[in-house]
């Protein structure tokens, strides 16, 4: 259980920095994204890069921060043997994965461009979800 929470903490921290990079770009702190193909700029300039006026990357920053905090707190002696943090991590990871699937489908079928950083984040959240499922399975 602890191992899966440790893995989630490390992955969530990596995802946090990816989302932070995209968010800082969306608010103008960072110039052109290091992307290679230019697909990142296409995705980031599209109308789908914002949700309700808020840059989509901000939801990633908040989501990964929540996953990181829960996974770290979930390792403390008070919560290490409890299933609550594991369930919460599974819920957060599932929500993040579904949201990522939606965004990735937009890239594939609507925007027709791939942002490598977004794909990196998609891989991270998939791994987090797998770790969360493994953590839940072990706690049974």
């Amino acid at each position: 259980m602890i191992r899966s929470r440790q893995a989630i903490a490390v992955l969530a921290l990596a995802g946090f920095f990816i989302a932070l990079y995209l968010w800082l770009h969306s608010i103008g702190v960072i110039g052109q994204l290091k992307c290679g193909t230019g697909g990142c700029e296409i995705v980031q300039a599209s109308a789908y890069a914002r949700l309700g006026g808020v840059p989509v990357a901000f939801f990633g920053v908040a989501g990964y921060a929540a996953l990181f905090l829960v996974s770290v707190v979930g390792q403390s002696p008070r919560f290490a043997e409890r299933r609550g943090p594991g369930r919460l991590l599974f819920g957060l990871a599932s929500g993040g994965l579904l949201f990522t699937l939606y965004l990735t489908s937009l890239e594939a079928f609507v925007i027709h461009a791939w942002c490598r950083w977004c794909l990196g984040s998609a891989l991270v959240i998939l791994l987090i979800w797998i770790a969360a499922v493994a953590g839940l399975a072990r706690s049974r």
């Binding site: 440790q6 903490a9 490390v10 921290l13 990596a14 946090f16 920095f17 932070l20 990079y21 800082l24 770009h25 969306s26 608010i27 103008g28 702190v29 960072i30 110039g31 052109q32 290091k34 230019g38 700029e41 296409i42 980031q44 300039a45 599209s46 109308a47 789908y48 890069a49 914002r50 006026g53 079928f109 609507v110 461009a113």
Partner: protein
């Protein structure tokens, strides 16, 4: 446990260093573009350059960012067909509005180049230059010289053009256009409004636009 925190520390150091490096590579749009320009009544009164007759039954407004790759692709590949089939045939009047996104460092400068060229009657020609030679947007260096080259190739009075750009003459006009877009809910580019309604269709090719226009032309006018 110690190993776990060492790994976390390594991720923090690597991520922090990358973010610091990225932000120091280029000052970012806010730094490059200076404070928000003052908008005068004349700036707000200007409603953008148009192509096509005022009598055209369909009016399309495009909010555009010249550094945006989708705008460039649309401008270079789709717009010429739209121009031939819809604008030149009198079906559509096309109005171009500036919407320089904050994520792009040189969008406002590019918009300024088009407005300054517009002063000399070459607005659309400068737009074509910016989109047809879009490699300037992929480089981090200041494109002022590149735009000057475009102005030269268009045969503009370069002294007038340079003075216009140096004085940031149309900063207020560009800001007014941006504010107008924001007020209409624009949050990405290119955003099209067809007869006042935002086009949200996924087919943003000339065929897609033509289909919408044809549908509108088929509908009986309601008073």
């Amino acid at each position: 446990m110690n190993r776990f925190y060492m790994v976390l520390g390594a991720v923090v150091v690597a991520g922090g260093a990358f973010l610091w490096y990225s932000s120091s590579q280029r000052g970012g749009p806010a730094a490059d573009q200076g404070p928000v320009p003052v908008v005068t009544a004349a700036d707000s009164a200007f409603k953008g350059y148009t192509l096509g007759p005022d009598s055209a039954p369909v009016k399309i407004v495009e909010y555009v960012d010249y550094e945006c790759p989708i705008c460039a692709e649309f401008g270079a590949l789709q717009f010429p067909v739209i121009k031939d089939h819809l604008i030149n045939t009198g079906k559509v009047q096309w109005r171009q509005r500036d919407f320089p996104l904050s994520i792009h460092a040189h969008s406002r400068l590019a918009a300024l180049a088009t407005q300054c060229a517009g002063d000399q009657g070459k607005y659309w020609e400068m737009v074509d230059q910016l989109f047809d030679n879009h490699s300037w947007a992929l480089q981090s260096r200041d494109p002022t010289g590149t735009f000057h080259g475009f102005a030269q190739s268009l045969g503009l009075d370069l002294a007038k053009y340079d003075a216009c750009v140096s004085a940031n003459t149309y900063a207020g006009r560009i800001q007014a256009s941006y504010a107008e877009g924001e007020a209409r809910g624009v949050n990405g580019t290119p955003t099209l409004f067809i007869n006042g309604v935002e086009y949200t269709g996924s087919n943003r090719t000339s065929d897609g636009i033509q289909a919408v226009v044809d549908d509108l032309l088929k509908k009986p006018k309601t008073k």
